[in-house]
Subunit: 213 residues, 2 copies
DNA sequence: CCCTGTGAAAAGGTTCACAGCA
DNA sequence: TGCTGTGAACCTTTTCACAGGG
């Protein structure tokens, strides 16, 4: 496997955006693209794009641009796609089911193989192809499906418990949609997306604009 | 209205987290808290918390800590809560409905007053208290409800169109869950949350760990 | 003595100008 | 000449040490 030097986190966070643009471009039949154009499609400026790509290697051709298929392969490799990381969803309410319905996850190597929920009317049944298990079955689910990532979509009160069960079962990567700060050991990679925080940031800017008037 | 000097974006993004911790604390009956403890509850270190709060003003007492109710009021004010920013949801599928069900938004001043969807079986009906309108009614919906924020939960192919209609109707703050880069005028505040990007970042780290072995 | 508030240093990220290869 | 690759400057953010009030 190719080894990359250290890639800055900010760059890692943009690679999926570049990759999506490259996949879209490939489907149009284009074969090369300049940093200027790819940056435009990705919503960044051209020097930043070139700097980001330079962390992966030197894949462009001066005077020409980047070969779309080649660059796509390299970005994809850097992100570790080609690997498959099975996902378990904790909390199978509206949000959990929205994720399960989202075909893009499986396509990108993150198949949702199981869900955990406390609702006895859901346990033992399958929704959108995803079997629902009781919380106590977490260890068996993780081991049985080779789960690499846990996604927490439970109500607030149940989210820390879900995180604890994921960690106890050996899961070391967690994506949480819970609005509270979860406590996990240092060796667990926890990412948190709080939807109402995003709205509050928009609200802050709205207020600022209003103050200016 | 109190005016704050310039608050760094990184700080603004953390204020909602502090606020939530303070609200939780208030409900426990505690009256003061140290920066160390509040930082712990917020998942940051103490000097960062103090630096962040210092941008708002000097609300602590040396040797004691912060008064929870007072600090809560000040953080809340800085974020512009107390204002109400009505929200329209574009695309009322699983994700859109998950948001509509989420009572926390209304509580925080972001009531979801309307939804837009193309599905004729949904248009004209109300789900979870949210009336669904046709895309062509966007201008009337925005004006009628005084919409300040649009949230895009449509399928990928419809997201740019939804953004265009929001902008045309005068909405200047947009939260997008679409995985593609949306194009909007410079004066529009666009925040983007791509769920599969988050998984890809986790996947990158998983791969890195695997490479180390 | 305790804990906040803050300048200064360090780290991380972005921008820019231009060197260098096709 | 055209466009990439990158060192250096710049800006933002984080960390740290400690001054200073209660």
């Amino acid at each position: 496997m190719q080894s990359y030097g250290h890639i800055p986190e900010a760059t890692v966070a943009r690679l999926p955006i570049y990759l999506r643009a490259l996949v879209d471009l490939a489907s149009t039949g284009a074969s090369t693209i300049s940093s200027e154009e790819l940056a435009e499609l990705s919503g960044v400026n051209a020097p930043k794009l070139r700097k980001d790509l330079s962390y992966l290697g030197t894949y462009g051709t001066r005077g020409v641009g980047y070969d779309i298929d080649y660059l796509r392969f390299e970005v994809s490799s850097a992100l570790g796609l080609g690997n498959t990381w099975p996902v378990v969803v904790c909390g199978f309410g509206n949000l959990g089911r929205a994720l399960a319905n989202h075909t893009g996850f499986t396509q990108r190597g993150f198949p949702i193989l199981a869900a955990i929920d406390t609702d006895p009317t859901k346990i033992g049944h399958t929704f959108d192809g995803v079997p629902v298990h009781a919380p106590g079955e977490m260890p068996a689910v993780v081991t049985g499906h080779g789960i690499a990532i846990g996604v927490i979509c439970t109500p607030v009160g149940a989210s820390q418990g879900a995180a604890d069960r994921l960690v106890a079962a050996g899961v070391r990567s967690i994506l949480s949609f819970s609005p509270i700060v979860l406590t996990v050991p240092d060796d667990v990679d926890l990412r948190s997306v709080d939807l109402s925080t995003q709205l509050q940031i928009l609200g802050f800017h709205l207020q600022e604009s209003a103050d200016d008037e």
